[in-house]
Each structure stands twice: as structure tokens, then as C-alpha cells.
Symmetry: C2
Subunit: 630 residues, 2 copies
């Protein structure tokens, strides 16, 4: 298994030439760029080479994934879906009522929102596990952003209108992200940001609920229920890992609601100062198109609220969908999911639903209860329908305190200390981002907390570009491998050469830095006499990691050539990538600054080839091994 | 010169191990990061290892570069500086008067601003060639931003106050950038942006001036001078290349002013409807601390104006300083220059000077006229002083039209068509950025035009991070070199292996994309049967270009391992860099997902080592060369 090597036994070794990259027109490059940027998942792949009829079927299935699984649906699947559907319904009903309260909306809206949106999702969505409905984060954010301008107590009607209109904009925005294939925007909400943001939100919500809990008499008696429920609820997140426990977390809220409602009814709680939900309207979702308002002084607010709640709920929905898809080894199409969630909200807002998405807790329970297809959402919907039509009077005596308890236990689970510790361990900067999101949300506001954390994350990425690493490479003795001198201690400098690896695209943001930094590496060599008896004659730039250059980037090489010329040092480039090579040649036309004989495919070949022209009396057999320890 | 290679003639070749990087504490890493980010030029290098007394002298010279060259100053240097000083004065006087008009300020301010700031710069600045004074861009921007709120005609006194206060904030901001070592912020104004911005400004200014020129009688007679001056002036930019012509561009404006003033005086121009400058106050700069206003409704405007003009003038000053330093092979310290220019403006605004910086035209003339040190600025200052004290009445009859002509000819030179063409040729996106700056400045406003162009540049960088290139590598036959299959046509796939190179740091913004993209490369291999009789068994990730990972980035490897596990494919990493290796190990503790025997130093070693475990009956001698053409 002797490898075939280029023959470098002759005095001037013949290096493998740097190939001119294949020619591409601007249009071709634009096409490739557009494809990689916006169609990186190549969504039309499956259509290629299919007959027209098949294409039409595939197309319909692409738009309505329900067409894919519905024809194959059978009784066995239905049995699984039936059980999981009823299980999530028992979670969805108390959750729906509670989260609507969290959004400062009438409790009934939580049930409306658990009825229509799941039905829409079943037709359009591609996840088999997603349990759809209102979620705590989006509810909280919508409630708190809208009440900045309108009081839900003094003007509940206007507040409701704003909430529905915000939901419309959220849905529009989500669908637009999917259609325009800009889904990667949600990637900017990194895990670190979400961790801090969710913990911060949990703290705010808990304090809010505790405050209202503390306002009632008989407080201590009722509060005892929280630790109990907490211990139960806390298992929700873990139910993926311990499926046997899922029914505890799934059933607990409903059991609590039933027991407390019976108790409240029995002791006539309202006469003891315990507030209860009170009368709830019976019947299914009333249409609400007349409640959408697209003019007036609050338009800016609803658009902003729609944008932020839209992004947040999308992030949760997509993340949940991807998590379960990876677990069960199928694929969800991010952009298609965005369209599905977006349309679900657009339809929702016309039928008295506020913002919904794929909920983590419902999906976990759904998956654990053995859901096989999105049909479990239909079952849940039907269960909610029955509740809406017949069971609403039963909730009359449900104490509000139990809803507060459900909310608190749900959000407390969002505070993930072990994950925060892991962040601290792996990446201190991410930990800082998390802290900014956490304290920003608590002490400033949801939108500024998020914006600050996203800004900080982007700043970090920009700083990495602005200050790219330049690493001095040395030869690992006995090999032809060149690696970071500070990482591989046995690596050694090659006399007469300074070999640098640049680890970022070269562009307007870093040419000044790179220019100064490279010159300083040279000064370091000269001042510390790192070459011993040799003088520095070649600076070799290893360009494998320079994925692109822009028009400023190409000027770096011209400027470096001039600066090195003053010092009598020559510049060689190793492995410039296709795009970089093309741009260098274009900028160079006629000037001939980048000589072909100073371009090499590997560092080893560059050193071997240039060694023969070293001015010090060291040409010949020994050069490659005359390395200086440092 | 036979290279020493690892011995891979045995059946399972022993690869060079991936070294564990040297241990670094968080504090050490923070220190290195801080140094590279904010002190990349290592400004204190010269102090190291020096005795205390020497350190004090060096320290004083560091703060006041004048101390470095003044003691060595001699008569010969003075002779050179005297000539160049007087030359730039002859350019500075008409330019100063014109640019002050461009900023909607009294003409005399242009002369004030050519007197005090150069003296401050001489003490603090480190460039030998910089000619200091008002510049067209900053003048234009300040004038147009301030007149959004205050009319320079209706309330010239308030306008002046705002201009001086803006200058204060500009100086404060510039000095702060230098002190906080945030100078890299100006790097975000790329050449493409400046090109578009300057051309756009030139168009606006020219139209503005032409409008006022068209408003006067006898217009056609006077206009003829413009093409003449233009052809002369146009040489300014080229005077670096053709030093013999510098005196034409240097002297032309003054000659024009003198001739036109004499003419205007002779024909009593004001009676023919030609507007003249009129009475100018005699005497040096009056103090203006009482004119700085830090309260009232315009504070936001002056801070914004200060910020933008500060950045713009800094960009010009630093760029000019660096250009000439590179030309004459000395160094200017960017951050120190920022402090010098900033302090110059802070001092300036207390002595009736508006914003100044290193001017391209003055510096070019200064350099061509043979300036040796910053002393030429002192000479210019003295010449302006003499003018202020004795010659002001002579400008009484200078026609305003000649000032307009000077402005137009100066700014027309800012439109650089060949540079724009070069941008188009090298980088279409940079060309787009330039167009955005150009049209944004013309049709929207200076600040939005700039902001849009900067935003677009940053977006491009972010897109590069969000959509990093993944390249399939193949083996170049007869070598152990692996390169891009699409660049090196002779490179070929190794059966059983998919070798991918990831060309960006892995972080929150790109893990979703990378995950999908890598799986799609695998599908491509499987669907097109690119391995012929072999099944895909190893995905090898070449990580040389992955300079960092964040906490999201490490999760990619975990997720990939799971996804590949479903397909029966194993993951190997090649050359993970020190930081990446540390983070992977930290995230991995206890789980042992990243096995040491799946880490390799080179692709060649990975292939050689893993080939022996390939399940297809192809182990042994031939594997490395059994490549599949594609």
C-alpha cells in the first residue's frame, strides 16, 4: 500500500500544478449561489425524471402531505392515533385555558385555538408527531407586548382584536418566510438565546402568577398543590426519555382541574374569596374576520407583535418537529413546515384562534402515547369539539388559581440549569449570550432582550471574520505534514520560510488586520532570530480555509507583495480555492503579480520547490529536514 | 530529498496521532482573544525589556510623535517642508473657503479650520505626509444633515452652533474609537461602499452647485471655466503617479481665485448680478466654547451628525495616511491616528473650526511637493495665519461662482469609473453594494444610503457563514493529495468514502444547513451509485477550515452521528483544530461519541487507516488506487 507520490528526488522537484478552475459564467455562479442559499434542500429533486402524471401526484402530495399518508391509513394506525389523540386532548384542554389567560385573553380562546389549527395542520404539515396548539412562550409574549398599549382589563374587546390581528401578521410572516425560503432566519435564535429567553420568560410569568395567587385569600392552602404538580409536570420534558411516565404528565393537569373544580363547587369557593373562571360560552369557534383591524394607531404594534411571536412560535414548532423527525428517522421540510404553520395561523385568526404552533409538551406526550400519524391531532380536535359543545359549563367552578399553577409548572420546566451549565463548559461566549437574553427579558423587555442577544451573537460572528486566525505552520518531522506550531509541539519551522494559514474568507472587514498581522509574524521571526543562520526569504500562505475573497480581499495580495518587496521576501500561495484563484487572476490581468510558479497545491510541494532557490547555502538533500526547534 | 513518510506499508497503517492541544485556562484564552481583537498590532511591543528611563521616553514619543522627529529636525528637512507647506497652503486657502460653503457655513470657517487643526495634528499625528484640513465629503454630509432641521439661511447662528457641536461629537467619537481600540469599525466602510458613496455625493454636490450657478446671470460666461479647471484638477488623484504635474493641481485653484477676483473687481461684478463673497472678518480663530450646545431639541441630530461625519472623515484620514505610509515604507498606527484626528477636532471645535481630517488632495500635493515631516502642516498653518491676519480683504471680490467651480471639480474627481468597472469584473456583489450606496445617497439620504450599503455588506458576510461551502474531495491520482472534485478534474472519489471539506466555522447560524447538506451529499452518492460496487461506509470531514465551533456547533457532530448511524455509515474527522478539538471533547465527556481512532491528521491517513476496515472485499494493496472516475 505504498502511496504514489510525486517524484521529488530530483533537485528541483516538479510540483503538482494548481489547476485553473473550470470556467463559469456569472449567470451560472448566480444560479449555484441562489440554489445553495435558498434551495439548499433541493425540494424539487423528487420530481426530476418522473412522468407528468406522477409529477402532478407528487406535486399535490408536496403541497398537501395528507395525500401521502391518508390513502394508506388503516384501522391499526387509527387505534394508536385514537389513544394518543385523547391523551393530548386531556393535556390540551387545561393548557389551552391556562395559556389563553397567560395571553390576557378569554379562556375559551385557548380551546378554540386547540380546535381549528390542528385540523389545518393535518392537511398541510409534514410532521407525524407534532401536537399543535397554543404555547406558553408565544402566549406570554403576545400578552405582554399588546398590554403595553391596550389594557386587557379596561378594553378587553380591543385587546382581543389586536391579538387576532397580531396572529394574522404572525401567520403571514411565517408563511412568507417559508415561501421566500428565508427559513434560515430562525437559525439566528440560537440554543443559547432560547435557553436564556425561556428561563427569563419563566421567571416573569411565575412572578406574575404568584402575584395574582398571593392576592387571594386561602392562598397557602391552594399553594401546596404547586410543588406536587411541579414534580409531576417536570417529567414532561423527560417523557421522551421515560415514555412510561408520559401519562402522569399528560393526565395530571386535567386531574387537578377536575378535583379542584369539584372541590370549589362543593365548598362554594367564590364565597370564600377564591376566584373562579365563571361562565364560559358554549359552541364552536365563531368567525372573527370582522375582528381583524388593519388601520388605526395600533397597526405598528400588531405588526411588531406578529413578527416577534411569529418567529418565536416558528422556532419552537420547527425545533420540535425536527427533534421528533430525527428521533423517528423521517424528514421534515423546514420551509414547508413554515408555510403550514403560517397558514394555520392565518386561518386560525379568522375563526377566533390566537397564535398556535407545534407545542413541545403536547408533541412529547403525543409521541409517547404512540401517535403514528398527524391523525392524532384530528382526534384531539374532535375531543376539544365535544368539550366546546357540551362540557363547557363544567369549567364554571374551576378556580383560577389552578390555571396559575398549571402555567407556573409548565414554565418552570423551561428553566434548564444543566443545559446552561453545559454552555458554560463548552463556550463561555454562548453562556454570556444566554445571560444577556435572560436578564434582558427580565429587566428590559421581551423584544429588546431578544434583540440584544441576537445582536451579540451576530457581533461574535462578525468579530470572527474581522479577526481571522492566522496560524504559523511547522513541519511534523518524519512526515510531509504541516500543522499549527502551537498545537503540534513536535512541528518545527522550516528555515527561510514563514508558513501561515489564514482561517477565514478575506474581505473588506479583515484586510487591514491581516495585512498588519502577517507583517507582525514576519517581524517576530526577524526579531527573535527564529531562523538562526537563515534569513527569511519566503512567506507561504496556506489558503485552503480562505473560502472566498471579495474585491477588497484581492487588494491584500497586491499590498502584501509591495510590503514584502521592501523586505526582500517573496510571497507564495498554497491551494487557493477555485473562486479565489479566479478573482486573483481577474484582478491581476496584465500586472502579473501572482506568478504561476508561486502557486502550489500543498505546503510540502511549495517548500520543496522553493527550497532550491534559497539563497543560503543549504540547497539540496538536507533542506527539508533542517528544521529549527522552537 | 526523499520525504520521510509514515510507514503505511503494513496492512493497518499507523497514522500520525491527532495531538491533544496544550491546555489553556479560560483566563488565558480570554487574554489571547482580547489581545488579538483589540491589540492586534501589539502597541506595547517596543517597551518590552527596555530600562525604565527609556520606557518613559518611548512613552512620551508614543503619545506625542513630534518628540520623535523634532529633535532630529534640521535645515535641509525644513527647506523641503517649506516648499511643500507653501504649496499646500495655496491649495488649502481656496479649498477651505469652498468646502465651508459646501457645509453651509461662513467661508471664513474653512480658513480657521486650516489653521488650528494642522498644528494639533503635528504634535499628535504619526503620518509624515498627511495634509490636514476640511474635506469635501464630511463638509457635504455635515451641511446636508444639519439643514434637515435648521436652515443655514434663516438661522445661520444656530446652524453654526450645531456644526461646531457636531464637530465636538465627531472628535469625541473618533478619539473614543482609538482609545477603546475599536478602530476596526471603519473597516466596515469597504472600498465598494466608499466608491458608491463618493460618486453619489459628487452627483448631489454638483447638481446643488450647478443649480446655484444657473441662478445667476452671465452664467454661460463663467461656466466655461469649469471644463478647464476640471481637466487640471482631475490630475490631483494622479499626482501620486505623475509627481511632475502636482503643481498644476496644487496651484490651479488659487490662480483661478486670483484671476477671477481681479476680473470681478475690475468689472464690478456684483453690479452685473454676479454674487461675490463679500466682507470677511480679519483676525485669527475666535474661541467658540460658548457656541457648543449640549441640550435642546437638536441634541439627537448633532450626535448623529457627529457620528456619521466622524466615521467618514476618519475613514478618509486613515486611508490616506496608510496609503502614503505604504508608499514610503513607514508605519502609521491606526488607533493612534484616530486619537490624533479626534483630539484635533475636539480642540478645533473650541476655536471655531468645523470637522477636519487628513485630506486626500492636500496629502497628495504635500507628498508630491516633497514634504519630509509633519512640519509642512505647520508651514501651511502659518501661511493661513498670514492670510487670516492680512489678506482677508483681498477675497472680498472673489465670485461665489468660482467657489462652486472649485467644489465641482474637486468632487467630480471622486467619481471613479475604472474602479467601478474593476469591481464589476472581480466581484459582482461588491458592485451591487456600490450601486446601493450610490443610489441610496442620491435618492434617499446620506445616512440611509450608507446604512443600507453597510447592512448589505454585513448580510453578505452573514450569508457566507449561514451557507458555508461543503466541497467533495477526491484523490489526485499518483499523489496523496485530496482536492475539490470540481476544481481538479483528475481528482477521483475513493470507493466507500465520502470526503467533505467544510469551509467555515460551525455555529448556530449554519448547523441546520450543514446537517441537511451533508445528508444530501450522502444521498447523491447513494442515488447515483457513485461508488459502483462499493457501499458508502465512511464520511470523512476535513476540518482544517473550521476555525471555531460554538455550543450549537458541537451538537452537529452528535446529530450527524445519529443520522449516519441510521444509514450504517461512520463519521471520521480530519485535522480538527485545537479549539474545535477541545470543545468536542468537553461536550463529549462520558459519552465517548468522538472516538480517538476516528480522528486523523490528514485525509490520506484517514483513508489508509479506514480502508482496512472496509467491509467490501477490497482491503489490501489496491484500495488507495481503486478510484472511481466521475
Amino acid at each position: 500500500m505504498q502511496p504514489h507520490l510525486v517524484d521529488i528526488t530530483t533537485e528541483v522537484p516538479e510540483a503538482h500544478p494548481v489547476a485553473p478552475p473550470p470556467k463559469q459564467s456569472t449567470l451560472q455562479r448566480l444560479k449555484i449561489w441562489t440554489k445553495e442559499t435558498f434551495f439548499s434542500d433541493d425540494p424539487l429533486r423528487q420530481f426530476r425524471g418522473q412522468p407528468l402524471q406522477r409529477k402532478l401526484i407528487l406535486g399535490a402530495q408536496y403541497v398537501f402531505p395528507v395525500l401521502e399518508w391518508a390513502p394508506k391509513y388503516n384501522l391499526k394506525l387509527l387505534k394508536s392515533d385514537l389513544i394518543s389523540g385523547i391523551t393530548i386532548a386531556s393535556l390540551a384542554i387545561p393548557q389551552g385555558i391556562s395559556y389563553a389567560k397567560l395571553a390576557n385573553l378569554p379562556p375559551i380562546l385557548g380551546l378554540y385555538s386547540s380546535f381549528v389549527p390542528p385540523l389545518v395542520y393535518v392537511v398541510l404539515g409534514s410532521s407525524k408527531d407534532l401536537g399543535v396548539g397554543p404555547v406558553s412562550i408565544a402566549s406570554l409574549v403576545m400578552g405582554s407586548m399588546l398590554q403595553d398599549e391596550v389594557s386587557p382589563i379596561e378594553d378587553p374587546d380591543l385587546f382581543l382584536k389586536l391579538a387576532l390581528t397580531s396572529t394574522f401578521f404572525a401567520g403571514l410572516f411565517q408563511a412568507a418566510l417559508g415561501i421566500l425560503r428565508l427559513g434560515f432566519i430562525i437559525d439566528f435564535l440560537s440554543k443559547a438565546i432560547l435557553l436564556g429567553f425561556m428561563a427569563g420568560s419563566a421567571v416573569i410569568v411565575s412572578l406574575q402568577q404568584l402575584k395574582s395567587l398571593l392576592g387571594i385569600k386561602h392562598f397557602t392552602k391552594k399553594m401546596a398543590i404547586i410543588p406536587v404538580m411541579k414534580s409531576v409536570f417536570h417529567k414532561t420534558d423527560e417523557s421522551i426519555k421515560k415514555p412510561k411516565l408520559f401519562w402522569i404528565s399528560a393526565g395530571a393537569p386535567l386531574v387537578c382541574v377536575i378535583i379542584s373544580t369539584i372541590l370549589a363547587f362543593a365548598i362554594k369557593a367564590q364565597h370564600h374569596g377564591i376566584s373562579i373562571i365563571g361562565k364560559l360560552p358554549k359552541g364552536i369557534n365563531p368567525p372573527s374576520t370582522d375582528k381583524l383591524i388593519f388601520n388605526g394607531s395600533h397597526l405598528g404594534l400588531v405588526i411588531k407583535t406578529g413578527f416577534i411571536t411569529g418567529i418565536l412560535s416558528l422556532t419552537e414548532g420547527i425545533a420540535v418537529g425536527r427533534t421528533f423527525a430525527a428521533l423517528r428517522n423521517y424528514k421534515v421540510d423546514g420551509n414547508k413546515e413554515m408555510m403550514a404553520i403560517g397558514l394555520m395561523n392565518v386561518v386560525g385568526c379568522t375563526t377566533s384562534c390566537y397564535i398556535t404552533t407545534g407545542s413541545f409538551s403536547r408533541s412529547a406526550v403525543n409521541n409517547s402515547a404512540g401517535a403514528k400519524t398527524a391523525m392524532s391531532n384530528v382526534i384531539m380536535s374532535l375531543a376539544v369539539l365535544v368539550t366546546l359543545l357540551f362540557l363547557m359549563p363544567l369549567f364554571h367552578y374551576t378556580p383560577n388559581v389552578i390555571l396559575g399553577a398549571i402555567i407556573i409548572t409548565a414554565v418552570i420546566g423551561l428553566i434548564d440549569i444543566p443545559a446552561a451549565y453545559l454552555l458554560w463548559k463548552i463556550d463561555k461566549f454562548d453562556f454570556l449570550v444566554m445571560l444577556v437574553a435572560f436578564f434582558g427579558v427580565i429587566f428590559i423587555s421581551v423584544q429588546y432582550g431578544l434583540a440584544m442577544a441576537v445582536g451579540l451573537s451576530i457581533l461574535k460572528v462578525l468579530l470572527q471574520i474581522t479577526r481571522p486566525k492566522t496560524v504559523v505552520l511547522g513541519k511534523i518531522p518524519g512526515t510531509d505534514i504541516y500543522r499549527d506550531l502551537h498545537h503540534y509541539k513536535e512541528a518545527a519551522r522550516v528555515p527561510g520560510f514563514l508558513i501561515l494559514r489564514i482561517e477565514a474568507p478575506i474581505n473588506f472587514a479583515n484586510i487591514t488586520y491581516l495585512h498588519e498581522r502577517i507583517l507582525r509574524w514576519i517581524e517576530e521571526v526577524e526579531e527573535n532570530n527564529l531562523m538562526k543562520d537563515f534569513s527569511l526569504q519566503f512567506v507561504v500562505l496556506e489558503m485552503s480555509a480562505v473560502s472566498t475573497v471579495d474585491s477588497s480581499g484581492v487588494s491584500l495580495f497586491k499590498d502584501l507583495n509591495i510590503a514584502l518587496g521592501h523586505k526582500g521576501v517573496e510571497l507564495a500561495l498554497v491551494n487557493p480555492l477555485a473562486e479565489v484563484l479566479v478573482k486573483l487572476k481577474k484582478a491581476d490581468e496584465g500586472h502579473n503579480k501572482i506568478r504561476d510558479d508561486y502557486l502550489f497545491v500543498t505546503v510540502g510541494e511549495a517548500v520543496a520547490s522553493l527550497s532550491s532557490t534559497l539563497k543560503t547555502p543549504t540547497v539540496g538533500e538536507e533542506v527539508q529536514e533542517t528544521v529549527v526547534e522552537c
